[in-house]
């Protein structure tokens, strides 16, 4: 099994129960309760189904219950493996083409309708759903909180990195997984909150009810007065040939496999997209001992935070701008990826093509709000609020505050007119979701014999843990904007405690001092399993990852709270002011093949994953029929699949543009329930026999 046995940040639980299961007749071992998709991955399985169209192998894409690409046959029934917990003895099979029905002809057994009543139904137990539930619960409202995973926390559970933001508002400096546990504990402490996990809301209905598909078995309708949609976001797809090959999947799916379920999902990855999700994905890969060949970004600039990008570059991951993936190839699963630079019109320049041998390609081209239930509820005139990524894609720190605001606003709408929402809360939420601001010049400090902090934090982002952990309050934010967007500086006394070094989520703080005219010492953060000893050397780089020299370790300390090593190096006085990080990945890992080797048929990129419809098929159909209504694409099955066009609808503006049609002329597709396929036995709660 390819499991992560030791992780620098995550505790590898020792109490997990191993269970046996079967995949295509072969006995395998997994952990009870983990997602079936993760158990399969841990056993080296990448092909989950074979699509009836073209007999194409399919692997996971979102691992988040959104698409349906991870469907396998479990004990006879097709089920999404990413939201089905593994149990002992499960018989799992590759879904080949259209499945056979399980012939159970016994007469209909006892059945019943189930209904629950609440004041507020909160859909999605991630950062915003948890905080809005807490606010409502405190005020005495009866809340039903629903989440489709086995554990509450949403994306917080995948976030092993320390949080940005301000410490007092959103636990900045704490890791997402720890925040999730704190919030879950609080939510569970309220008797007026009823929690449904492993439960999908399959629809909201005109008669003011929502339908809950519970634990793959039951169906419960819920009466509510208010609805909060904190259903998060889903990975955007991107179209290139081979984009449906097993091994090509979302960065969020990767985080789920690696961080939540501790599966070493890949040997070597390449990432498409330089937003925070892609950048952090690369970091998480390195922490899990997975090599990262490169990050490619079609835009001319990095779209995520500069500190994240710098951190990744220092570790030895190149980021290629103006570059895209032109082919993902392999025999049944991904084996190589070819990238190329693009011209001004984003057309690839084939002469620049480079081929990398990787087994995984992470799609990190952004997220789109999972807001179709909101749209429906709003159409129906319900009292509904959307929050977190469902409202607007932003950091989880902002989602937590947004959730509180949503909860309070919902309370007001339900008659609690006495509630006054502090303006500062709105401001904080706004600031926390700010796009990065200006980038300032790197300041090179004068070194003295005393340690002092040194910052490679140049871009304005909403973050301040370094200022709050400094015992001497000697780290402050420059008063350019007057918010936590400002960058830090040092002025005062330094105890060399290293808290600022350990707390910084961007690994952008180090301590430095001059030992002599030629020698200096620098303390750098290291969030990896550390096998080095005093006296060993490590390659040290400047802010952008250029190796400056090899530093000799003089001291290794460990900060337990932040699970970060603080490594002191002896370095040259000349380089000391410039050294910013430790390279962890050898350059050889990032080398492409000597010669590009690919077959790129751009038209073969898959748009509708469920029904396996390619970009060429759609563009041709649009042209031939002068299509101006996305609903007409149903003629070629687009959007008719299990996911209900959740994944492909986002791609439509671009596809129509490719067909020469301006999106403003086009009527978007109509989305209807159910959001998740639900068996008939569950709909009527037929008694299990």
């Amino acid at each position: 099994m390819t499991r992560i046995g030791k992780h620098p940040v995550l505790d590898v639980p020792q109490d997990r129960k191993e269970v046996e299961f079967y995949f295509d007749g072969q006995k395998m071992v997994g952990y009870e309760g983990e997602a079936v998709s993760s158990a399969l991955f841990a056993n080296g399985i990448r092909r989950f189904s074979v699509h009836k169209r073209g007999n194409t192998p399919q692997g996971i894409f979102c691992a988040n219950g959104q698409c349906s690409q991870c469907t396998v046959i479990i004990d006879g029934f097709p089920q999404k493996s990413c939201i089905t917990p593994l149990r002992a003895g499960m018989k799992i099979e590759t879904m080949i083409g259209v499945p056979k029905i399980v012939e159970d002809d016994r007469p209909l057994g006892k059945y019943e309708r189930r209904n629950e009543v609440c004041d507020v139904l909160v859909i999605g137990g991630g950062p915003s759903g948890l905080t809005s539930t807490i606010e409502l619960a405190k005020l005495g409202f009866k809340v039903i909180l629903v989440d489709d995973k086995a554990k509450l926390g949403g994306k917080l559970l995948l976030q092993t990195h320390k949080f940005f933001g301000s410490e007092q508002d959103c636990f900045a400096g704490t890791r997402g997984i720890d925040i999730a546990h704190k919030l879950e504990e609080e939510v569970r402490s309220y008797p007026n909150v009823k929690i449904f996990t492993e439960t999908s809301v399959i629809g909201v209905f005109k008669d003011k009810k929502a339908g809950l598909f519970v634990k793959n078995r039951n169906y419960v309708t819920v009466d509510f007065s208010g609805l909060i949609l904190s259903s998060g976001a889903r990975e955007k797809s991107v179209v290139f040939p081979g984009n449906d090959l097993p091994g090509v999947y979302g960065a969020g799916a990767f985080q789920t496999l690696v961080n939540r379920d501790l599966v070493k999902a890949a040997s070597k990855i390449l990432i498409i997209g330089s937003g925070n999700v892609g950048l952090i994905g690369a970091y998480h890969a390195l922490q899990a001992g997975i090599q990262v060949a490169a990050i490619v970004e079609i835009a001319p600039n990095i779209t995520g935070y500069k500190v994240h990008a710098d951190k990744i570059k220092r570790m030895g991951v190149p980021i290629y701008l103006g570059t895209t993936v032109i082919a993902a190839e392999g025999n049944g699963r991904l084996e190589k990826v070819t990238v190329a630079e693009v011209d001004n019109c984003w057309n690839p320049i084939l002469e620049t093509a480079r081929t990398y041998d990787v087994d995984t390609l992470l799609v990190a081209v952004g997220l789109s709000s999972a807001d179709e239930l909101y749209t429906l509820a709003e159409q129906y005139g319900f009292n509904v609020i959307k929050t977190g990524d469902c409202g607007e894609i932003a950091e989880a720190s902002s989602a937590m505050i947004g959730g509180r605001i949503a909860g309070l606003n919902m309370a007001k709408s339900l008659g609690r007119n006495d509630i006054v929402i502090d303006e500062s809360l709105y401001k904080k939420a706004e600031i926390l979701k700010s796009r990065p601001g200006k980038t300032h010049e790197l300041e090179i400090p004068e070194l003295t014999a005393q340690f002092r902090p040194k910052f490679t934090c140049l871009q304005e982002i909403p973050c301040n843990p370094c200022t709050t952990v400094c015992a001497k309050k000697a780290i402050r934010l420059k008063n350019r904007l007057g918010t936590i967007m400002d960058t830090p500086y040092f002025d005062g006394e330094c105890l060399a405690c290293g808290m600022c070094v350990a707390a910084c989520p961007g690994l952008a703080v180090s301590l430095v001092r001059k030992c002599s005219d030629t020698k200096a010492e620098i303390v750098l953060p290291y969030e990896f399993n550390c096998t080095a000893k005093e006296g060993d050397t490590m390659p040290l780089t400047d802010i952008d990852g250029k190796v400056l020299e090899s530093g000799r370790i003089t001291k290794i300390a460990y900060n337990k709270k932040y699970k970060t090593y603080l490594i002191t190096f002896e370095v040259s006085a000349e380089n000391a002011p410039l050294i910013a990080g430790i390279r962890v990945q050898d350059e050889s890992v990032t080398k492409p093949r000597d010669k590009a080797d690919f077959i790129a048929i751009p038209e073969n990129g898959v748009v509708c994953r469920c029904e396996h419809v390619t970009v060429k098929e759609i563009v041709d159909f649009i042209r031939e029929n002068e299509v101006r209504d996305v609903n007409q694409l149903k003629q070629i099955r687009v959007g008719m699949g299990a996911c209900g066009s959740k994944t492909c609808s986002v791609l439509m503006p671009r596809i129509f543009k490719m067909a020469g049609v301006d999106w403003s002329e086009v009527t978007p597709g109509r989305k209807r329930p159910l959001t998740v396929e639900t068996p008939m036995f569950a709909i009527i709660n037929e008694e299990e026999k």
Binding site: I101, K209, V627, D629, G644, M680
Partner: protein
């Protein structure tokens, strides 16, 4: 002002094929549609059943032509519309219904329809896994079937465009200028039109269109909800219709389509009138309870999507087709009572012969479906 030989109001199950057949016969045809594309009114909600096994001469003839046109779409025009000749089966569990269906059979056979009573054993064979307690047999008509409504309408749209039919989408008819018993112009929110003949194929909204020119059309919408499952390997060929009423529904029906998906629909009792097409929470449990009681094998199937559509109902359950006395250049092709998809293609072809070729072969249809009948009858096999 744009002018046409024939202007059709409504690009749905009826208007779209009709536009093609008329243009094929050389007419200059325009179509006004309030939605963004063809079939986005009720055709999108049709479940795809096609049968000719009715009990009246008009619908039997029209639907036989429909089946012929749709089943030959691939052969004649190279467009696959997922036609499956699966037949229709009505399993019967009580004596009264056996009797009335058998009586009907005599009539149906007299019209030359291939439909017969089959034994309980044969019903069980054709519907493997059916709950057979009390099953007395049923009627089976092997030449009925199903196809994809959206693909069919899409095909006719393509064919119509090939014959230079002009479609005006996202346009709503607002008023008509009438003088001397004739519509001089039809005004929409974007343009105005004139035509030698104006055909009202506006389905549930045809009453409003009629009101604009002073013709009372007794069509009122009722809504029905339907759903579709995931696909599974093919095991059920016919459309299964269970005509046993219960407290809240008259009948329900389901079939496995070309893709292997089950499509199902229920007829609510009492009918729900109005134009609301928003999904309700009651539909799924109600449908599933009934369907699984008859056919428990479906219990493991996952429902993928549900939706609601409108039946443009007439008082007697039959369509309204023909010219009007009040307005000389108005023709009605409406009130399909939820069978627009079955009727549309055949009706289009037949009307093109009536309108363009002055054919009198179909006078019996016009007589039966005239607006000026007394609407006192009742369609037995709605």
């Amino acid at each position: 002002m744009k002018s046409y030989d024939i202007l059709i109001i409504g690009a749905g199950s009826v208007g779209t094929p009709l536009s093609y057949y008329l243009a094929e016969k050389g007419m200059k045809v325009g179509v006004i549609e309030q939605n963004a594309s063809t079939g986005r009114g009720q055709n999108r909600a049709a479940i795809g059943g096609l049968r000719a096994t009715f009990s009246d001469p008009a619908k039997i003839k029209i639907c036989a032509v429909s089946i012929n046109e749709i089943s030959h779409m691939k052969e004649n025009h190279g467009i696959d519309v997922d036609w499956v000749e699966g037949g229709y089966i009505y399993p019967i569990f009580n004596e009264a219904q056996e009797k009335s269906l058998k009586n009907l059979l005599t009539l149906q056979k007299s019209f030359g329809l291939d439909i017969d009573w089959v034994s309980a054993e044969e019903v069980k064979e054709r519907v493997p896994g059916i709950q057979s307690e009390g099953l007395r047999g049923g009627t089976f008509s092997p030449h009925d079937g199903s196809a994809s409504p959206i693909k069919t309408t899409g095909a006719f749209y393509r064919l119509a465009r090939g014959k230079n039919v002009e479609f005006h989408f996202n346009e709503k008819v607002l008023s008509m200028e009438v003088s001397g018993g004739k519509i001089n112009s039809v005004k929409t929110d974007r343009d105005s039109y004139s035509a030698d003949l104006i055909i009202n194929a506006a389905g549930p909204f045809s009453r409003e269109i009629g009101d604009m020119c002073g013709v009372k059309i007794p069509v009122s919408p009722e809504c029905h909800e339907a759903g579709i499952t995931e696909p599974v390997e093919y095991f059920l060929r016919p459309m299964v219709v269970d005509i046993r009423p219960d407290d809240i529904s008259l009948n329900y029906y389901f079939y496995q389509n070309y893709e292997g998906q089950f499509v199902f629909c229920i007829t609510p009792k009492p009918p729900i009138s109005g134009t609301d097409i928003d999904n309700t929470s009651s539909f799924m449990p109600q449908m599933v309870e009934r369907m699984l009681a008859l056919y428990p094998r479906l219990r493991n199937l996952r429902i993928r999507r549900t939706w609601r559509g409108l039946y443009p109902m007439t008082p007697d359950g039959f369509p309204i087709v023909g010219r009007t006395k009040e307005i000389s250049n108005l023709f009605l092709a409406t009130g399909m009572c939820g069978q627009g998809y079955m009727i549309g293609s055949g009706l289009g072809k037949i009307l093109s012969e009536i309108i363009v070729n002055d054919s009198h072969d179909y006078d019996f249809i016009l007589e039966q479906l005239t607006l000026y009948r007394d609407f006192s009858g009742d369609e037995m096999l709605k």
